[in-house]
């Protein structure tokens, strides 16, 4: 069975495109909203022009900080990694330029690993550094629906569902919440996030989930209340103090989550950067 789709729709009329696609693909869950990410190279180039690279180095870890939001365009091939690298290196040299190129490097690294490992990246690449054998294999409905009862996590899930994009730090929080706080297998979480992201990419997505889980890194990634407030406080609604699962020191949190199987190093505070 093959069926041809219309190509005479106006790119400017995005609501009409949404209605049309819903009729062609009735199995898609209707998104209700339009994503702010307009598809195509022209839209990507426009976004690149408005990206304030000079702020990136200082702000990239903050949910309200300046990041390019170009990943949908890069992942779908509308813009290439190499053209972004060249663009950045033609700007006045600064820490921001170097940090940006460093982050592009992460994408290339994940792709290299995927290119070599193929679909083996869908399974644990290494032994987990904390016990995960009992983790739930399917994603609980309250996570999928964004009704966990924790306003911060529900907000992140809602942003993901409504826009098809999430800030890097938000992805890390959500992945850590799913895997370590809720004890759900990283694969279930990764498949779910992959399905919702416009930039969904097995390399960057599944390997990042493995990085958070500790099957592609030396330790599990966890966050606490202090970190969440510092980097995401301005964007997220406050969570109730009572029963707050995040309001602990890292040492106490590790003890609660992993029962002594892993003890974080006492020095320094995680910046939200991959290490």
């Amino acid at each position: 069975m093959m069926q041809q789709l219309r190509t005479d729709l106006e790119l400017a009329d995005r609501a009409a495109i949404a209605t049309y696609l819903q009729s062609e693909f009735p199995f898609l869950e209707d998104a209700e909203t339009l994503s702010p990410y307009v598809g195509g190279r022209a839209a990507g180039l426009e976004r690149l022009q408005s990206f304030q690279l000079e702020k990136y180095g200082k702000q990239r870890n903050f949910l309200d900080g300046e990041v390019s939001r170009l990943s949908p365009y890069v992942s779908r091939g509308c813009l290439t990694l190499e053209e972004l690298r060249q663009w950045a290196l033609k700007q006045p040299r600064s820490r921001s330029v170097e940090v940006f190129v460093f982050e592009l490097g992460w994408r290339a690294f994940f792709h290299l690993v995927y290119g070599e490992e193929g679909d083996r990246i869908l399974q644990d690449l290494e032994e987990p550094k904390v016990p995960m054998g009992q983790h739930q294999r399917s994603l609980p409905a309250d996570i999928a629906n964004g009704t966990t009862g924790i306003p911060s996590m529900d907000t992140l899930i809602q942003i993901l569902r409504e826009t098809g994009y999430l800030h890097n730090h938000a992805r890390m929080y959500l992945a850590s919440y799913v895997v370590h706080f809720r004890k759900v297998s990283w694969r279930a979480g990764a498949d779910w996030m992959y399905s919702l992201l416009i930039d969904g990419d097995f390399a960057s997505n599944h390997l990042s989930w493995q990085w958070v889980a500790s099957t592609f890194s030396t330790k599990p990634y966890i966050f606490n209340r202090e970190n969440l407030e510092r980097y995401a406080g301005s964007v997220l609604p406050g969570d109730p103090k009572k029963g707050d699962p995040f309001n602990y020191s890292y040492e106490a949190l590790a003890e609660r989550l992993f029962g002594g199987a892993y003890t974080p190093e006492p020095t320094g505070r995680p910046t939200g950067q991959y290490q």
């Binding site: 869950e29 091939g77 690294f109």
Partner: protein, 144 residues
């Protein structure tokens, strides 16, 4: 059904990781028909979101003369190859194992030309830790 029989013996097949109307492949094969297939079984199996489908569709509208199909990728392409007497399918490289699987399947029936991904640094050995990769290649990455 396809509108008309193209005269080119080659067909450009876009995949979802290479939606670039300015790609060299489009310049090199200016007369070739341009095709994209929304793979319905995969969309359903992976529960791909409407936002992603719309993004891809909008990106496709930017490619002049694109023909968009839905169905099973390989079956649709083989049908077009037969209808149009295509001898070569031209496409872009991706690490995506599902798309690579389709490429391998196609290759059994037709010549496949794959344009490689352009990487800032070409190193095919992938260490397991990014810090190691970066230490080795930082200078090349930061040099124009």
């Amino acid at each position: 059904m396809p509108q008309s029989t193209p005269s080119s013996p080659s067909l450009i097949w876009f995949n979802e990781d290479g939606l670039n109307p300015g790609h060299q492949m489009v310049k090199d094969y200016a007369d070739a028909p341009r095709v994209y297939v929304f793979d319905v079984p995969e969309l359903q199996r992976q529960k791909i979101s409407k936002h992603r489908v719309q993004f891809i569709y909008e990106a496709l509208l930017e490619i002049p003369s694109i023909q968009i199909y839905q169905g099973e990728t390989v079956a649709v392409l083989l049908q077009l190859i037969a209808d149009w007497a295509i001898r070569e399918v031209v496409t872009t490289e991706t690490p995506n194992h599902i798309i690579r699987g389709w490429q391998n399947e196609l290759q059994r029936s037709v010549a496949l030309t794959t344009y490689p991904d352009i990487f800032p640094v070409t190193d095919t050995t992938s260490p397991r830790r990014f810090s190691r990769y970066w230490r080795k290649h930082e200078r090349s990455w930061l040099t124009l």
